[in-house]
């Protein structure tokens, strides 16, 4: 059934051009959104900017519940709703825009492998840090996650989410890891990305691809979000080509296209947290 539904969606997607009022939904930027969701949302925004597709960001407290797969961000285009970077890339491809067409087969395989590496290590490490590290959970995650809701709903929702994430960590074998081991994994992942990037402007030389968008989303969020300690962002700052990469993409795609002053103000407020 789902194969048929997917193909149907693809067919519909191909029929219409990209509308002007496409919207991307995420949680409330200043009070509610967490590190991992912010990273995913920024990755999608970067990807759409790279494809030159206009999108406006709408912040809603219940974005997670509106999403068809339960994960943010999701985009609302025409009369279709698509969530998460993978399906969004396919959806945009069905509409005729693609960043990875110029790659040959081996490079496409590499791109997919590196995207899995980022999802497997960076995203899981972010989830671990914000839901399984007790200090961070008490001071940052619980207050932020339930902030739009009154007591006791805010505590119940955040405990429920924490239980779900901990179950998943246990199933994939990360429950037994300590914070140091997780940070070491992040370091290994950043080292691999840094070695792959080398001195090139983008991962596949001249043109950005969805891999660049994904890496930018995660690294920029790690660099600019203030947590209890700076250990996570220090791991990324160790690799100067990665920080230069983030700065380059930010300058090229977010300062040129962003005429909205409030968006720029938000970004500069975030950057002032960067010590």
């Amino acid at each position: 059934m789902s194969l048929v539904a997917e193909a149907f969606v693809t067919q519909l997607a191909a029929a219409e051009p990209w509308p002007e009022n496409a919207a991307l939904y995420q949680q409330l930027k200043d009070e509610q959104i967490l590190l991992s969701d912010n990273a995913s949302s920024l990755a999608v925004q970067a990807f759409l900017q790279m494809c030159n597709l206009p999108i406006r960001v709408v912040c809603r407290a219940n974005a997670e519940y509106m999403s068809p797969s339960g994960k943010v961000p999701f985009i609302h285009v025409g009369n279709q709703v698509v969530s998460e970077l993978g399906p969004i890339v396919q959806f945009v491809k069905a509409k005729g825009h693609s960043l990875s067409d110029g790659l040959d087969e081996v490079q496409k395989a590499e791109m997919k492998a590196y995207m899995e590496l980022v999802n497997n290590m960076l995203l899981t490490a972010e989830l671990y840090l914000q839901w399984c590290d007790d200090v961070t959970v008490e001071e940052i995650t619980h207050p932020r996650y339930g902030s739009p809701y009154p007591w006791p709903l805010n505590r119940i929702l955040s405990y429920q989410k924490q239980w779900e994430v901990k179950r998943k960590m246990k199933a994939i074998g990360w429950a037994g890891k300590t914070l140091e081991q997780v940070l070491e994994d992040v370091d290994q992942c950043c080292q691999a990305l840094s070695q792959r990037l080398g001195t090139q402007p983008y991962f596949f030389n001249k043109q950005p691809t969805e891999l660049d968008a994904l890496v930018f989303g995660h690294l920029f969020t790690i660099l600019t979000t203030q947590l209890i300690t700076d250990e996570l962002s220090e791991k990324v700052k160790n690799y100067s080509n990665l920080t230069a990469f983030c700065r380059r993409i930010e300058q090229q795609y977010f300062e040129v296209h962003d005429k909205d002053s409030s968006a720029i103000a938000a970004r500069s407020a975030k950057r002032s947290l960067l010590r």
Partner: protein
Amino acid sequence: MAAPMELRCWEGDWGLPSVHPESLTVMAYAKFSGAPLTVNTISRSWKAPKGDIPVLISEDKVISQPAKILNFLRKQKYNADYELSAKQGADTLAYIALLEEKLLPALLHTFWIEAENYCSVTKPWFASRIAFPLSLYLPGKMSREALNRILLTKGGPPLYSLTEVEAQIYRDAKECLNLLSKRLGTSQFFFGDTPTTLDAFVFGFLAPVYKVCFPRVQLQEHLKQLPNLCRFCDDILTCYFRLSVSGHSPAGQDTADANLQKLTQLVDKESNLIEKVTFASVSNYSAFCGYLFTDILAWQLQLYNGLCFFSTELHCVERQEEYYITWKE
């Protein structure tokens, strides 16, 4: 460096040194790097397998996961990645992540969750290697853990039933096999002429799929159509494990390329199923939906019949039966 190292892992069968993917990875790496390991397989003794298998015991250190065991071996100067460049080292990590995300769920499903496979092959095999009271409990526990892992990592909305999750994970696994085949191409190992960590991981994951004889084998059939991967597994078994492989003559390179192209198209077509069926005649959305949901089985059977022309050994025939059975239910 001369400290004796003992590896405890599951036994082998069907021409393999071990049927457990992680144990096989560690054993392959040890052979590649020349590390002297004494392999002790778990037999029917009271030394129950506590914790994760494989386990490396060296002096007083006990190390359990494959990644950690490989790190330990590298620290002991048994390094198979010595000649790799920095970029190749990064590629290794990326491809290992790809294997764990895309191929491992389907592997776990084939071994532990597919009912016929589990009841007729996996459970009796593992139960016969574990001491008596535990043999009644441990295989069931391993099966439940595998199901848990698949549902938690792959099973969220919009996939609501186990069959949908299964369809998705097998699609991902076949795509992963195609990608690996493209990456391997015609070379003997993934990074030139000497095997490395990536070869150990790929061998560890592929060899059980390739060799173990199961009743329901859609992944194995897909793998057998990628002759360079089959040749890769056979080469490692003959050269590094000195095990004879049954006569399997891989097709020539042209047929290999043609097969790979067909398989890639097939996997893509499975994702864009209805492209073959014309939409043009139906313009009204609601009428279309009505048609879609009432006649869906006829479409799918027709489509799979069409797709069957592309390959003789196709799992779609099996799928046809599956859909027919669901309809009957």
